[in-house]
């Protein structure tokens, strides 16, 4: 290999040798600068990724401990009342019946309610109160109305399955 290269070098004319001799260091320096720049950028990206991963690993460890703790806790017993009935009763108790437009049961543990014009604070208190019944908001869309404090709400509520 070395002899082959030497032969190739000797086969060049002096002018070609001069050109090759001048270009080789320039190309070498350019390649080195490109390599160091690329490696530096890749290293910065990797460092950022590793830092984020370290934080995620710590968080995951904490979450894993919490999951194990929650599993070990005694299971809750959700209300056996039908969710549709339960929600209607809760709406009545909260004084929101007049604003209720529609209430539909999607399944045993999932109900959609539509309020036409309801005070946002009252509706929010009602949703917060449902937490004690193991019912939570799965999805909703709230739109403000022209009257201050009043909103129209379409919400899907679910009950935790046992």
């Amino acid at each position: 290999m070395k002899e082959k290269l030497r032969g190739l070098w000797k086969a060049r004319t002096p002018r070609e040798r001069l050109i090759v001799g001048a270009l080789a260091p320039i190309l070498g320096v350019l390649f080195y600068v490109w390599f160091v720049h690329s490696a530096g950028e890749a290293r910065t990206r990797l460092q950022t990724g590793v830092t984020a991963l370290r934080e995620q690993a710590v968080l995951l460890q904490q979450q894993a401990v919490e999951v194990e703790r929650l599993r070990a806790a005694p299971a809750i017993t959700p209300s056996r009342t039908d969710l549709h009935t339960l929600l209607q009763a809760q709406i009545g108790a909260a004084g929101l019946s007049r604003a209720l437009v529609k209430i539909d049961a999607l399944d045993v543990n999932q109900v959609t309610v539509v309020f036409g014009a309801v005070a946002f604070a009252d509706w929010l208190n009602w949703v917060a109160g449902l937490a004690s019944q193991q019912v939570r908001l799965k999805a909703c869309r709230i739109e403000t109305l022209s009257t201050a404090g009043l909103v129209s709400v379409t919400a899907t509520l679910v009950r935790t399955k046992t």
């Binding site: 991963l53 919490e66 999951v67 929650l70 809750i76 939570r136 999805a139 709230i142």
Partner: protein, 253 residues
């Protein structure tokens, strides 16, 4: 016939008795300049072709000598330009500069190699740590959820499983509507009552549609949301003008 240091020409129509016409013309030209040579030396390339020197001297009016046969090796060594010597001088200069710079070049090459090696080692070390952390997270996830079929993103999957576990235990999760609305309300409390036109919540994400807000207000809200531990999924891409709607999508970390 040599007429200068680097000049010469072939003669014409001369013979044994009479010199070439060009030689006569050159002598006439030299005579006009007042620089007539004292003698002419003749060299022959073929033996036995020497002309009659006395006849040539008579014709030309100056002495003509026999210089013998011509041999280029008899030329004085300093005559003309020696290309070989010039090239050697150039080589000598390059070689001396090169030999003086060689230690510096070696030191520089060694420094660059050490730098390259350090970069590669550092990069490999970080890559190994990244691989190790991923394996550690996956194994921790599998330890908690041995029934998991595929673990693609253990951090995200653990986050979702924790939310499920919290709901099963009757506890609120950060991605629930109530904790999020508390944080969003705190971040948007400075807004006028009519600025928040609608709010949607689904799958742990909340979308706010704001009306008639300026860029500074939006930036302020985004900063507050980030401070309260929420992430902005789709930050406002364009600079909002006064009177336009802005949509912000936020998510619990």
């Amino acid at each position: 016939m040599r007429s200068g240091e680097f000049e010469g020409a072939a003669t014409d129509c001369g013979d044994r008795e009479s010199p070439p016409l060009s030689l006569r013309l050159l002598l006439a030209e030299a005579q006009a300049r007042g620089a007539v040579p004292t003698a002419i030396t003749l060299y022959t390339s073929v033996s036995g072709t020497l002309p009659a020197l006395d006849l040539w001297a008579h014709e030309l009016g100056i002495e003509v000598r026999d210089g013998g046969s011509w041999d280029w090796r008899k030329a004085p060594p300093v005559a003309g330009i020696s290309l070989v010597q010039e090239r050697q001088a150039w080589r000598i200069i390059c070689s001396s500069v090169g030999s003086r710079l060689r230690p510096a070049a070696w030191v520089m090459a060694a420094a660059l190699m050490i730098h390259t090696a350090a970069l590669v080692i550092d990069w490999s070390s970080l890559a190994n740590e990244q691989r190790g952390l991923r394996q550690q997270m996956e194994s921790r996830f599998r330890a908690v959820f041995p029934d998991a079929v595929a673990v693609v993103d253990p951090a995200l999957q653990m986050r979702r499983m924790l939310a499920t576990a919290r709901h099963a235990a009757g506890q609120p999760d950060n991605s629930d509507f109530l904790p999020m609305i508390v944080q969003v309300a705190a971040a948007t409390k400075a807004l006028p009552a009519t600025a928040l036109r609608s709010l949607s919540y689904a799958s742990g994400g909340m979308t706010l549609e704001l009306a008639s807000v300026d860029e500074a207000t939006v930036r302020n809200i985004v900063a507050r949301l980030l401070q309260s531990g929420l992430s902005i999924d789709t930050p406002p891409s364009s600079t909002p003008q006064t009177g336009t709607n802005v949509v912000l999508s936020v998510r619990a970390l």
